[in-house]
């Protein structure tokens, strides 16, 4: 048997002849060393980049993923005493562009954008023709429109969040609430007066965003945004509406130039309503005129006329010069002091002091006023707040004009006793009348809510006894024999005083009038002071009782009912036809 040995074809790896070659040992060591050196270089480089000099890479990384974002805060709301909205901010978008980039828009794109923004293509072109690097295309764009614009993906057009202020009550509360500018800063009224607390403070945070723009992590310190605080006014929007609508009706029916009305809660000094005419819509402030913007009740002074008489009489009663039933001879309706003559609109004979108020006799008041020294009269005017700003914190409050007593001439003292030669604002007048409502206390006024759990007190000016007598006289003025029977309110005992003053034009009294009525109710326990002023009535009537009296009656009646004040007088059925108040 032949055994054929298979020739050996291969051999085991370890027996490979290549490996049998004898190489010099330094070569392998050399390669090993080089590799080691290369690795070491890499390690050192990465150590250098990541540990020693890491700022550069850190910065590059941050610039790609880290973002500082501002968290916007909204402006506080203004609400009335019952929580009804008077001013509220809602987010809007402002549209801005980098003109260089925006000019690359195609014509159809421009047309689309212009159509969405309610502007012509030419206007749009004019905006982006600017050589600045930033222009606002349009501000305060509604969010829905802004979303549609964002969907167009226009080159160089960007959006920014901002707020717009809305005033749901519109022109009704325009003067008291005021308005803000386009950058959310208060410009007028309460918006300006309470700017500090209404203003929100934007917060900021530093975040890491991923490739898709999602925020994945908060890094560093975050500052939470602080929303502005809400301001709760003393205003009652229902009473405000009553005051506003009746004032407007009175101004229109008397063809007057302007008017103002104020309602004050006598127990707290809160301003429940403050209306002016003409007014404006704060939501759309194009074509505004100065006359519309003026808050007459607070910033305008006028010579008040006879509404000042009760203060003169109160001083006389207080000083014991006269009693309410002292007879004053007012015949023949004229009185000459120096070279000037004072006269009554309707001549009267002998009147009691109470009738002087009821009939509003200038002669009677003058005779009483000349009984005391100028200083005493000045002090009384000063102590009821004339000649000094009412301290509401409202922008544009005026002091009025009360000249120092040292250079009063007798004729001036005489005219001041019935409200000429002295200038006051309607709010000062209304505030001064709180002394009659509060048994002689002059109440501090407040635009914001007052905590009424503790009784609020003002400075005492007159004694309660004098005030009781004065209230009786004021009530007489609205009786049929008085100057203002039209100011009566069915169901309530009211009292007040009319004023019909000549206006000064160019230093002389013109045949133009300011008709006013200031009153309190209910007489048995006064809760409200209402002051109405109508500027230049020219519809025939110009007496305070005929012009401002009916408006007073409507406002007072409505406000008393709104507040649920129980009636203190039997309702006269004969008056039924006269009650067409607001709901």
């Amino acid at each position: 048997m032949v055994v054929r040995r298979r020739p050996q074809r291969g051999h085991r790896f370890t027996e490979s002849p290549v490996l049998q070659l004898a190489l010099q040992g330094w070569r392998s060591r050399m390669v090993g060393l080089l590799l080691m050196a290369a690795f070491l270089a890499l390690v050192m480089r990465s150590f250098y980049l990541q540990v020693i000099n890491n700022d550069f890479l850190q910065e590059k990384g941050d610039s790609r993923y880290r973002r500082d974002i501002e968290v916007s805060a909204s402006r506080g709301k203004i609400i009335d005493r019952n929580g009804d909205m008077l001013a509220v901010s809602t987010p809007m978008k402002s549209l801005w562009a980098i003109p260089g980039d925006a000019r690359t828009m195609t014509a159809p794109q421009k047309q689309q954008l212009a159509a969405l923004l309610d502007m012509s293509v030419r206007e749009l072109d004019a905006k982006i023709a600017s050589d600045k690097t930033f222009v606002f295309v349009k501000r305060q764009v509604p969010p829905e429109t802004a979303d549609r614009i964002a969907a167009l993906k226009l080159p160089g057009v960007h959006q920014e969040k901002e707020y717009r202020r809305y005033y749901p009550t519109g022109d009704m509360t325009a003067h008291i609430v005021g308005f803000t500018g386009v950058d959310d800063k208060g410009l007028e009224g309460v918006e300006l007066a309470f700017q500090q607390s209404l203003l929100g403070h934007a917060g900021s945070r530093t975040v890491i965003r991923d490739r898709r723009g999602n925020i994945v992590e908060d890094v560093g310190a975050t500052r939470p945004p602080q929303d502005g605080k809400d301001v709760r006014l003393a205003l009652d929007s229902k009473i405000q509406y009553l005051a506003y609508s009746h004032l407007k009706a009175a101004v229109e029916s008397n063809k007057a130039k302007a008017g103002g009305a104020i309602v004050i809660d006598a127990s707290t000094g809160e301003i429940l309503a403050l209306a002016n005419w003409p007014t404006y819509n704060p939501n759309n402030r194009q074509h505004l005129s100065g006359a519309q913007l003026r808050n007459r009740a607070i910033t305008d002074t006028f010579e008040p006329g006879s509404v000042m008489k009760p203060f003169t009489i109160a001083l006389a009663l207080e000083k014991g010069k006269v009693r309410y039933d002292t007879i004053i001879n007012c015949a023949p309706g004229r009185l000459t002091i120096g070279s000037a003559t004072i006269s009554d609109a309707h001549p009267h004979g002998a009147l009691t002091v109470a009738q002087v108020i009821q009939k509003s006799s200038n002669v009677g008041t003058t005779k009483i006023a000349l009984g005391f020294p100028p200083k005493e009269m000045w002090e009384m005017f000063d102590s009821v707040g004339f000649g000094q700003a009412p301290n509401l914190g409202f922008p544009g409050e005026v002091n009025g004009r009360l000249r120092p007593w040292k250079n009063w001439r007798p004729i001036e003292q005489a005219t001041m006793s019935y409200g000429h030669g002295i200038a006051v604002s309607l709010v000062q007048l209304a505030r001064a009348y709180t002394v009659f409502a509060r048994d002689g206390e002059l109440m501090p006024l407040s635009l914001t809510r007052v905590d009424d759990s503790v009784p609020v007190h003002g400075a005492r000016v007159f004694s309660p006894q004098t005030m009781r007598e004065l209230r009786a006289m004021l009530e007489m003025a609205v009786q049929p024999e008085g100057t203002a029977p039209k100011a009566r309110v069915p169901g309530y005992r009211v009292g007040g005083k009319t004023g019909t003053a000549y206006k000064i034009e160019g230093g002389v009294y013109a045949r133009k009038y300011v008709a006013s009525f200031v009153g309190i109710a209910p007489i048995s326990d006064p809760r409200l002071v209402v002051a109405v002023m109508i500027d230049e009535p020219s519809g025939g009537a110009h007496y305070g009782g005929d012009v401002a009296g009916p408006a007073f009656s409507q406002i007072m009646g409505g406000a008393l009912r709104t507040m649920g004040v129980p009636p203190d007088a039997p309702i006269q059925v004969a008056d039924a036809g006269a009650t067409k108040g607001a709901l």
Binding site: D84, T90, T169, E217, G491, G564, A582
Partner: protein
């Protein structure tokens, strides 16, 4: 010794993977939180807008106009009013 080192290495690798996964999950959760917060802000804005709308619909001039013109309501005149004494009203449970 080598085996022990291998086990340590394995543990280190598992831990490293764990860190990566939990970081990923943390970011996912953070994104969810972020989007919920965004939704809360959106709803807040919407609430504000609805409040605004409500007060616009409920302005007194509008209410009065509808009451007068559409519902033909009138303020009752003096004859139509009954004054309830305060004590009696309180006994009945207020106005």
């Amino acid at each position: 010794m080598v085996r022990f080192n291998m086990i340590l290495l394995l543990i280190a690798v598992v831990c490293a993977l764990g860190v990566v996964t939990s970081q990923h999950r943390a970011r996912k959760l953070f994104q969810d939180l972020e989007s919920e917060q965004e939704r809360a802000r959106q709803l807040d804005v919407e609430y504000g807008q609805l409040q605004l709308e409500l007060s616009t619909w409920a302005t007194h001039p509008r209410v009065e106009q509808i009451a007068r013109d559409r519902l033909h309501m009138v303020t009752p005149d003096a004859v139509g009013r009954v004054v309830v004494p305060a004590a009696k009203a309180a006994a009945k449970g207020g106005r």
